[in-house]
């Protein structure tokens, strides 16, 4: 119970910080931050299914997010950046999103099949390599993906479905209505995904997954197919990652090869470790706190450098991200909401 009180106070302090440090446009900053937090939180929930539930080390989440996003965006009306092709017809958005999520799950299957038999640390190397392969291919095959120029003008498919009251609400509080809509949908998705996961976690399947994490041999001895269980978990987490990637590109309004760089995965990991590996709502909470910290680091940059440029801002941000990951892993591996007994910290 104590940790929920701590979590509540951390949230209150975070929100107060946002509104107090931005005298004008606080609502706008808040919506921007919560949208990013929601997207990263959703992605972290995906990794949590891998790592927290099953003990799989996935450091290539950017690839799952990316394939979900690219698949969806390519299926709806879009145009390739910088004098590329304009495609004005496409599938309805919900169907495209569904296919995007499936594509991410399929990539999970494709990557999981060869690697899930291997020991945990190999999976870490393979997933990080797969994410890099994905990024390099996206960058190189410009005809399909727009390469570094990316894909633009696809947001309308989502924004056309925006209800009027959101637009009015946004305008009256000086919030970007389109971002508000993306953020709202993201948080609704988080709630839906968490509801499904909470059912799954209590199901025999969820218990079997945790058993795989604790002792794979014991699971085998009981006649369960441990590799199949790991594969299912890998695909489920990948699918959730794909969904978060879709929201990410709708929030940006564009998608380029540089959207899904390896550091994206590390951001998501930082949010997960902060919030609590293995707990249900931990990743979402961690993502909110993480983004408030990131917002805070920008004021550190302004303190260190008189007028920090993008490079210095990014440098300071990532120095903090690296320290956060190390600090929490060493001193509080269970994060804010996790349980220490629920953590897999040794290789098997």
């Amino acid at each position: 119970m104590k940790k929920y009180i701590i979590a509540f106070f951390l949230l209150v302090i975070s929100f107060l910080y946002i509104f107090l440090s931005n005298e004008t446009g606080g609502a706008r900053v808040f919506v921007n931050l919560m949208t990013f937090a929601g997207i990263y939180g959703l992605a972290a929930i995906g990794i949590n299914v891998h790592f927290g539930w099953t003990g799989l080390l996935n450091f290539g989440h950017a690839a799952f997010m990316g394939i979900g996003a690219y698949t969806t965006v390519l299926l709806i009306p879009h145009s390739l950046g910088r004098e590329g092709v304009v495609i004005s017809s496409g599938l309805p958005l919900p169907l495209a999103i569904l296919i995007g999520i499936l594509a991410a799950a399929l990539l999970g299957l494709f990557l999981g099949l060869p690697t899930l038999r291997l020991r945990g640390d190999y999976l870490a190397i393979v997933t990080i390599a797969a994410a890099e392969i994905f990024r390099l291919l996206v960058r190189d095959f410009e005809d399909l993906t727009g390469g570094v120029y990316g894909i633009i003008q696809f947001s309308d498919s989502l924004q056309n479905s925006r209800p009027d009251f959101i637009t009015r609400f946004g305008e009256s509080y000086d919030i970007s209505p389109s971002q508000f809509w993306v953020g709202l949908l993201t948080w609704i998705s988080i709630i839906v995904v968490l509801l499904i996961l909470s059912r799954l976690k209590k199901s025999p399947w969820g218990r079997a997954l945790r058993a795989v994490r604790e002792d794979e041999d014991a699971v085998r001895a009981l006649g369960k197919n441990a590799v199949l269980l790991k594969l299912q978990s890998f695909m489920l987490g990948a699918a959730i990652g794909g969904l978060s990637g879709i929201f990410l590109v709708f929030n940006y309004g564009t998608v380029q090869a540089s959207t899904f760089v390896p550091v994206l995965t590390f951001y998501v990991w930082a949010a997960l470790i902060l919030g609590g590996v293995g707990s249900l709502a931990g990743p979402a909470l961690g993502a909110v706190i993480f983004w408030v910290i990131i917002a805070g680091t920008d004021s550190i940059s302004r303190f260190l450098f008189e007028s920090p440029d993008g490079q210095q801002l990014a440098g300071v941000r990532f120095v903090i991200v690296g320290l956060l990951i190390m600090f929490f892993m060493i001193f509080r591996p269970s994060g804010i909401l996790g349980k220490k007994e629920e953590l897999l910290l040794d290789v098997k």
């Binding site: 393979v126 797969a130 392969i133 300071v316 120095v319 690296g322 190390m326």
Partner: protein, 305 residues
């Protein structure tokens, strides 16, 4: 295709040296060190800082100016400092973790945090744009049909010499034997009176010196930049996995294969216009190797189950 062989050998020597260092550390400590690339970059950046002329604006914070020492002295100092750096990492970070029984996965995540932290410290302190050492430009010449600059030939020879030295060190010296003993079984090694803490410290220092040297070579062949370690790290992983993780000879071999393969693939017809995808080929090969022979070419099976 043959014109790429020279580049392949050069990339191969970088990856091979980096793989040996990574593999040695993994063998003795069981740490999959994602911060390995940052130790490589450390060597390169320190050598750059020592050797560049004092009036160049090399570093991001203008209150530091480069030292302008001659290049070979800088290289030696930088290798020594890389060793000290690795030793400090072991003493201040990894030894306490080991004493508190941190699991491998926890340590792996810590090395990822460390890697992100160090890399962006470099970004803040060192120049973000690729910088070269102050060495005069050289023209490529023909060596048995392979096009290389004279300096790069020297680099290749020195790289090979260092690898032979590492091999002799591991095979014949007392410390090298002790390292291999700890690698094969740390319990049995302790029973035989080997101080495993000391051996692990020596391994960290030795592996980091090797990594720092790798970075300098990479800097000489290409250039120095803040994220050079991360760019090469995945290829080093590929080389290590190909040769067999935890084996030294295998890592050298795997590193060379990966380097040559990456560069040769540039000449392939279907790769035309897809310059970035060459690294993807090496990484894909690594995944295939894991699929068909997860212990690598020279690895033993008990390491992977």
């Amino acid at each position: 295709m043959l014109e790429q062989l020279g580049n392949g050998l050069l990339l191969g020597v970088i990856i091979a040296l980096g793989s040996v260092a990574l593999s040695l550390l993994y063998g003795v400590t069981r740490i999959v060190n994602f911060a390995h690339g940052e130790i490589i970059a450390f060597g390169a950046i320190v050598a750059l800082f020592f050797s560049s002329s004092p009036d160049s604006t090399l570093l991001y914070l203008d209150r530091f100016s480069p030292l302008g020492i001659n290049f070979s002295t800088s290289v030696i100092l930088s290798i020594l400092l890389s060793g000290v750096f690795g030793g400090l990492l072991e003493l201040c970070l990894f030894k306490p973790l080991r004493k508190n029984n941190f699991g491998n996965i926890a340590v792996l995540v810590v090395t990822i945090g460390l890697s992100i932290f160090l890399r962006h410290v470099y970004l803040l302190f060192a120049s973000a744009k690729p910088t070269s050492y102050i060495l005069e430009l050289q023209r490529r010449e023909d060596y048995f049909g392979v096009q290389l600059t004279p300096r790069n030939v020297q680099v290749l020879i020195i790289g090979f010499a260092v690898m032979v030295f590492v091999g002799i060190f591991l095979t014949y010296t007392r410390t090298g034997k002790a390292m291999r003993a700890v690698r094969d079984s740390s319990d049995l090694a302790s029973i035989s009176g080997i101080n495993s803490d000391y051996i692990i410290l020596v391994t960290w220092v030795f592996s980091s010196m090797l990594a720092g040297f790798t970075g300098i070579i990479q800097g000489v062949i290409n250039n120095v930049r803040w994220n050079m370690g991360f760019l090469i790290l995945l290829l080093i992983f590929a080389g290590t996995v190909l040769g067999g993780i935890g084996t030294s000879f295998g890592a050298m071999f795997g590193g060379f294969i990966i380097g040559i393969l990456v560069q040769l693939s540039v000449g392939l017809e279907f790769m035309d216009g897809h310059t970035e995808a060459k690294n993807a080929i090496a990484l894909a090969l690594m995944i295939i190797i894991l699929l068909v022979r997860p212990q690598g070419i020279f690895g033993s099976k008990d390491r992977i189950s």
